[in-house]
Amino acid sequence: MTLLSVAALSVSIHDTPILKDVSLSVAPGQIVALTGESGSGKSMTALAVMRLLPEGAEAQGRIALAGADLMARTEAQMCAVRGNDIGMIFQEPMTALNPVMTIGDQVAETILVHGAMGRAQARDRARAVLARVGLPEDRFPLSLYPHQLSGGQRQRVVIAMAIALRPKLLIADEPTTALDVTTQAQILDLLKGLVAEEGMGLMMITHDLAVVAGMADQIVVMRHGAVVEQGPARAVLSAPAQAYTRALLEASGHRANLPEAAPQGALLQVRGVSRDYRTPRKRLFGPHGTVRAVKDVSFEIQKGERVGLVGESGCGKSTLTRALLGLEPVQAGQILLDGQPVYAHGHPNLAVRRKIQVVFQDPYGSFNPRHRVARLITEPFHLLESPPTGAARERAIAEALTAVGLQPDDAGKYIHAFSGGQRQRIAIARALIIRPELIVFDEAVSALDVRVRAQILDLMADLSRQYGLTYLFISHDLSVVRTITDRVMVMRAGEIVEAGPTEQVFDTPSHWYTKALIAAAPRLPEGIGGSDAARPAL
């Protein structure tokens, strides 16, 4: 029996086709994964099922829930379906909850709005459901507000709201993308348990094939608003019929071909560094509190080395990065680049600052939209005493753009003309243009689709070969760190808990936290994806 059946669904927004002839079905107790790159129409499919498409969207086709046609329902009838028959979980737990309403009220609201039971009973049910998703009342009273919870806990509240009335169908749109890897594992377990115990159908949207591999019974691969391939998970993953699916799998397990490192003497020395932050005063004239975000961290990066730094959000990675860049003073210890401090006399030390460049995560937010590419990538020139001008400047621009696989002509364009992957190439060109000794990649590939990510990783490997790069690669994504670094450091609660050669740390982790991280990371089954199939692609 089918629970949800979508047949020949097409959606257009102001005459632009968004979805083309999408058909899929979900059975009770089944997990169906919708996967594909950004813009492939995964979320639109979910919103179409909920009949919550953005204004101006027109849908055609058939959507049936347990045999009943949803497309024929009025808006008022759909309100009775949403939350009652179909529950939905969203990507961003930090913003998916109303900040001014208690979690108890928000969960109870799902029950009350459908008039399923009285106020007192609804509260009891809310209590029970929150306990079911791992938020028992003794530790998480119903009177808590969302801001008092962590991201993973908030996602549990969102799940509790979605399952409060035991819907037949649960739709989860990238439910763990914004979460840390250990939290992700817990939330995925919770979802699997709910499907198994309650017999719900789960339509799960995710771009992460490793997550799909661990969860789904059925896979639907989408691209440009159409279904490319669908079938049982095992079959699609092990023997994909379509070239696109193969390309996605290949890119997911992609391993860049990094040249051998040739370390040649210390470049960056970090000695006993601690970084404190002030917390607000407790009383008006009371003393500030302090939080130590980085605790007594020491390490060295040799010239020519590629070092990874992994850890979950809040572990101090970003704080450490800012200190390395000399943007903020440290409260204890020393950071030396080529033997000189990166921060001196109350400001970044410019003599050293030009030797270090950074590539940030967000390829959309880290460029000024009103400047042309030539100006954007020559920004680091202001760090030089005598920046190149005229023909030399043009040459430097052309060379940097060519190095990252773009055309010299691109210098005259504005940033909006480029895709996310191209923007990240421009960001790398910007970092390369003054030939820094050290580049810091701060989550530089985390926002990219898998195929683009694979290309950028290859580019980094190429550049390493050409220019003998030294870099620090900061990421929460273990599989990427594994392919692109020689040495790795694992950070937890402001401390480096383990460090060593990358392969060694990943194959035989010694610290419990490293073990937990590696165990929690979703992985593709052996033999799927990657150019080096013999290796377990983490």
Partner: protein, 315 residues
Amino acid sequence: MVRYALNRLISLAISLLIASVAIFLVVEVAPGDPASYMLGINAQPDTVAALRTELGLDVSKPERYLTWVSGMLGGDFGTSYTYRAPVAQMIADRLWVSLPLAIYALTLSTLIAFPAGLFAASRRGRAGDMAVMGATQLGVAIPNFWFAMMLVLVFSITLRWFGAGGFPGWDAGLGAGLKALTLPAVALALPQAAILARVMRSALIDILGEDFMRTARAKGLSRRQALWRHGVRNALIPVLTIIGLQFSFLLAGAIIIEQVFFLPGLGRLVFQSITQRDLIVVESVVMLLVFAVIVVNFAVDLAYAAADPRLRTRT
């Protein structure tokens, strides 16, 4: 929450202290001698000397400050030079007009703005929204004294529903007092309502794009339910800010409207005492207005915390 309120209260006291010093310095100490300034350039030296003694200017400045502040704390604001009357009494009389007028106008403007903003936001881009936005544009653009005169023309002179001006005093009864304040309050309220409605609309539209509004819809709330239950309270913070600012403005800024309607309010008192160089009155009224602004801000801070639990833990 109690701690938050206490903290705000302490900073309120500090603000008042700083404000009193600033006002004292500006009015009494800054340029020249208040006595000769008040009497003008043709004054006789002995008249100036007499006034200096009367004003207490012959003692040291810190001493004068302390006398002034302690006087105010005890309800003694000094004696007006031009009216020869206790300033405290004069202010109290005027406050009995200005304060009810401000509250009346603010109530009216809130009552108009909230539904208008909600209505416009829920029909964004449609005819209803366009109509409300057009009306508020007009409300912002029209000068309130002209609007006040039009009100007088229509409701006093043509229809004869209200008097054209003046205030009978509260002794004449609550109804008579409110009736006399109605046209001024409407004249004051409409431009404020126009601004407030626009703020309310844009705050709500911002909220409508929030993820939690989509979550609310996914739970099965209708558009309207989602707007009411999740939108309005989240939109309150910017709206409260504007209401606070407007109240402070209405208390002292009603001067033109008070002139149009011949109302014996605070605005007129300030205006008259400035033209008559009655510095004692100016000083006291300014201090009172500063006090009002600070107290209103305190109330707005408390309202913030009531509206948004995230602010309660901050100090």
